[in-house]
């Protein structure tokens, strides 16, 4: 079995490509390299290839993983180089390893993920914030027995309340200042991210900022996925 995992960064404008579009980009890129993918059997064969966890539109990432099977055996270093040559700017392959495993899919083994959230402070509020204030707010936020967020239901498309507290594994923060002297909150989130329990950073953002009485436009907030962790301690 010629199974591999390629790790890549997603950054810059390309972070605005959707999960489906990214699948297409990879499918094309593989074809372009001449690395023939293994196809599934059956009436409607498709290339054996899949992402470990979809990434929301607009997020950048330092830990995107795609697993795939090729028809023939290749040197992982060779695959890495070929993919570097063809992938569009912003999708940057960093490593490729052989993945000889009997697990069904990486997606099934994903467990949690770490994110960095960057939220610029409104000028009017900037003076009130420092690391201590933020740390205090975070522990108050986490001390709640329930944190109710409004989540859009997959089927009905309606917003419904969910308790997200148990899905937050960890949260720290810092107040940072950028080159132009603008202050921002930088949050490190460790959240459930797997097939059984999955928490989107969106729900933390949409509850924590109001909890701090901060009115920050969502489009000013940036999110990056830092790491993706697996149950069987798989590491890439």
């Amino acid at each position: 079995m010629n199974r591999y995992v390629l790790k890549f960064y997603k950054d810059g404008y390309v972070k605005y490509t959707s999960h489906l579009d990214l699948l297409r980009i990879f499918k094309r890129s593989f074809k372009k390299t001449g690395l023939a993918l293994q196809y599934s059997q059956g009436f409607n064969p498709h290339p054996k290839m899949g992402f470990a966890q979809p990434l929301s539109l607009g997020y950048s990432s330092k830990c995107e993983l795609i697993e795939f099977e090729t028809a023939e055996n290749h040197d992982p270093a060779d695959i890495l180089q070929k993919m570097k040559d063809v992938l569009p700017e912003g999708l940057e392959p960093v490593s490729c390893v052989r993945f000889e495993s009997n697990i069904k899919s990486l997606a099934g083994e994903a467990d949690s993920a770490e994110y960095v959230v960057w939220a610029p402070l409104p000028e009017s509020a900037a003076a009130d914030w420092n690391n201590d204030v933020l740390t205090g707010k975070i522990s108050d936020y986490l001390a709640q027995t329930e944190i109710t967020a409004m989540k859009r239901q997959k089927k009905t498309k309606k917003l419904a309340p969910v308790d997200i507290r148990k899905m937050i594994r960890g949260m720290q923060g810092m107040v940072v200042t950028d080159v132009e002297g603008r202050k921002a909150l930088m949050l490190n989130l460790h959240l459930d991210c797997g097939s059984t329990s999955n928490l989107s950073p969106e729900l933390v953002i949409s509850t924590f900022l109001p909890f701090c009485s901060l009115d920050i436009e969502r489009y000013d907030v940036e999110v990056e996925r830092k790491t993706l962790k697996f149950v069987k301690n798989l590491q890439f």
Binding site: V14, D21, I25, K27, R28, F30, Y219
Partner: protein, 618 residues
């Protein structure tokens, strides 16, 4: 906050942000500082539509192959993005380098269909350019040269007030030549007039400001005259005699957001010899010029390898008219199988060979088979010179049914010159006969079977034998639709027809003159844009625009022109002579057909300028 930061914000607020980011596989990166001229290629529709259009990919490559030219792309933003851009006062920018259009040297629009004209204006407005060419010229500020080309440029007049320069005909040679000339002229410090003077020496360059139009009291044109003695009159269409060695994109951009047609495309030939009298493409792309089979194969394979596409399509006006079509298929089909690529052959004429081909390439998808008789009776098909007989159709449909096809699509036009209700009855007759054929072959309970009858409204087009004809009124079209709906109420038959409103607006611009620019401007001010999208089309905006601009619609649509009337597009010489068009119109009235000129020249006049390699080859 600069534009790129602002763009980053907006991208988080819109649907399908992937439309606006650029940087796709095979898109071109150059340093703008290293080039002499920067060209913004604008497609007046959404990304997904524009990216499926081969012409853009051809010219993108042609221009970027020149070291000193940088061509970038621009599409119309979706309505959500547009609203935010206006709110944030953000100008329309290129995808490649995010440069506001106002900073480019050329802003070039491709005119594929008349209903995109309001979007042209809307994009200029979003780019914060004054819409009228005269206003840009009079301004202190230096604006880019706004140019346009494509099939609709064969009657450029409705856009003449907005566009500085039109490119008529094949663009691959004249466009880069003019862009390079511009770079040189600027280096030498020459004025715009001096540049114009040089540029218009080339075939295919039409600069509206060099000409003036006067009108008669009845509203018809009195005279088209040039304002400078050095301006060419008429402007001859640019025709490239041999397309074999033209730059062709084997490295086309792979769209980020799925385009309508996401596939590799190879142009097999340009032009058509059949001479259907309503068809503009059949007249304005003459003569037929083919690529060699070797070239087509090589382009196809290179393209597939460079894009990773899994679908290949051939492009021409009539796929099976390629002189070595059988040989090409015999080579292409196995090659595509090997590469795991599906092959699609649009506008195939259905004969014995086509069946074999379709059987081979659509093993699992024996779904739809398409015929375009265009008219319901032999009489009317003779009038329009559509060389299909009913016997041909039935024979091949019988075969199709035997081979297991279950879906037949028929295309017709209504409102054709000399049409009567008998011709409409003929449409229903054909549908009924096909349903009967199915009963005959597959029995009364013939299973799943459907005939789809689609009719479109005839729009008389410039540079065709029907350019003088009257168009039906909206009421008349509606009556015919009702009539047909009634007649086609049959089991196994589905009837579709197109919207009436757009075909009458389309007709105004297809044969409009310079005065129609006021109508266009009014429609744009009333919020009309993306008119070919039903969800964005605003008929009220258009109705009001007619009132606002006091343009008399029926003058342009219903009025039958006299043969000796000066037509707005007489300023352009398409290569097909007016004498021939008149002759063809008269033959139409006499219900006389004209043969395909592969059986011998029929004298359209294009051979005054170029050689016709297909003449008399059948």
């Amino acid at each position: 906050m600069n534009y790129t930061e602002k763009l980053n914000q907006l991208l988080k607020r819109v649907e399908k942000p992937g439309r606006y980011i650029g940087g796709e596989i095979n898109s071109v990166k150059k340093n703008p500082a290293d080039v002499d001229a920067r060209f913004a290629f604008c497609f007046p529709d959404l990304y997904e539509i524009g990216m499926s259009y081969l012409g853009m990919q051809i010219l993108y490559k042609t221009l970027n192959d020149r070291e000193k030219i940088y061509c970038e792309r621009v599409f119309a933003p979706g309505v959500d993005m547009e609203a935010l851009m206006r709110e944030e006062n953000m100008p329309l920018m290129t995808l490649e380098t995010k440069t506001p259009l106002g900073e480019m040297d050329f802003v070039g629009f491709t005119l594929q269909y008349e209903m995109s004209y309001t979007t042209v204006l809307n994009m200029m407005d979003l780019a914060q350019l004054p819409l009228k060419a005269a206003d840009r010229a009079a301004s202190e500020k230096e604006y880019p040269l706004v140019v346009a080309g494509g099939p609709c440029a064969l009657n450029p007049e409705p856009l003449a007030d907005f566009i500085d320069m039109f490119f008529i005909g094949d663009g691959e040679v004249v466009l880069p030549a003019v862009v390079e000339l511009y770079g040189e002229c600027r280096k030498k410090g020459m004025s715009r007039e001096e540049f114009y003077r040089e540029a218009c020496k080339m075939d295919g360059v039409y600069i509206p400001s060099l000409y003036d139009v006067t009108y008669n009291e009845d509203g018809t044109i009195k005279e088209l005259c040039k304002l400078y003695d050095w301006a060419p009159m008429p402007v001859r269409r640019a025709i490239i005699e041999n397309i074999e060695e033209l730059p062709f994109p084997t490295n086309p951009i792979v769209p980020f957001v799925e385009a309508v047609h996401d596939r590799s495309v190879v142009e097999t030939f340009r032009g058509c010899t059949r001479g259907c009298r309503f068809c503009q493409a059949g007249m304005i792309y003459r003569p037929v010029r083919e690529r060699s089979r070797e070239k087509i194969m090589q382009l196809a394979m290179d393209n597939l390898h460079n894009t990773g596409n899994d679908e290949l399509s051939l492009l021409s006006l009539s796929t099976s008219d390629y002189s070595q079509f059988e040989e090409l298929c015999n080579e292409l089909i196995p090659a595509c199988k090997r590469e795991n690529v599906s092959l699609s052959l649009p506008s195939l004429r259905i004969d014995k060979f086509a069946f074999d081909v379709l059987n081979k390439i659509q093993e699992y998808r024996k779904s739809g088979l398409t015929y375009a008789p265009e008219a319901g009776t032999q009489r009317l098909r003779d009038v329009i010179n559509k060389g299909v007989t009913e016997a041909d159709i039935y024979k091949s449909i019988e075969q199709a049914l035997e081979l297991g096809w279950t879906n037949i699509k028929l295309y017709f036009m209504i409102g054709l010159p000399t049409e009567t209700d008998e011709d409409l009855d003929g449409i229903a007759e054909i549908a009924r006969n096909i349903v009967d054929l199915n009963y005959k072959i597959n029995g009364r309970k013939g299973g799943r079977f459907n005939v789809t009858v689609s009719v479109s409204n005839f729009v008389p087009k410039a540079n065709t034998p029907f350019q003088w004809e009257s168009q039906n009124t909206a009421e008349e079209f509606a009556r015919k639709h009702n009539y047909l709906t009634d007649k086609l109420r049959m089991k196994h038959v589905t009837f579709n027809y197109h919207d009436n409103a757009t075909s009458s607006f389309e007709a105004v611009f297809a044969r409009g003159d310079r005065r129609c620019s006021e109508l266009l401007l009014a429609a744009f001010r009333n919020g009309c844009k993306l008119d070919s999208w039903t969800e964005h089309f605003k008929p009220e905006g258009w109705e009001k625009a007619f009132a606002d601009s006091r343009i008399n619609r029926s003058f342009y649509t219903e009025r039958k022109r006299e043969f000796d009337e000066v037509l707005p597009w007489d300023i352009i010489d398409s290569g097909v002579s007016k004498k021939f068009l008149k002759l063809e119109a008269e033959r139409a009235y006499n219900e006389t057909t004209t043969h395909d000129c592969r059986h011998g020249c029929v004298g359209c006049g294009i051979n005054r300028y170029v050689k016709c390699e297909m003449e008399g080859t059948l």
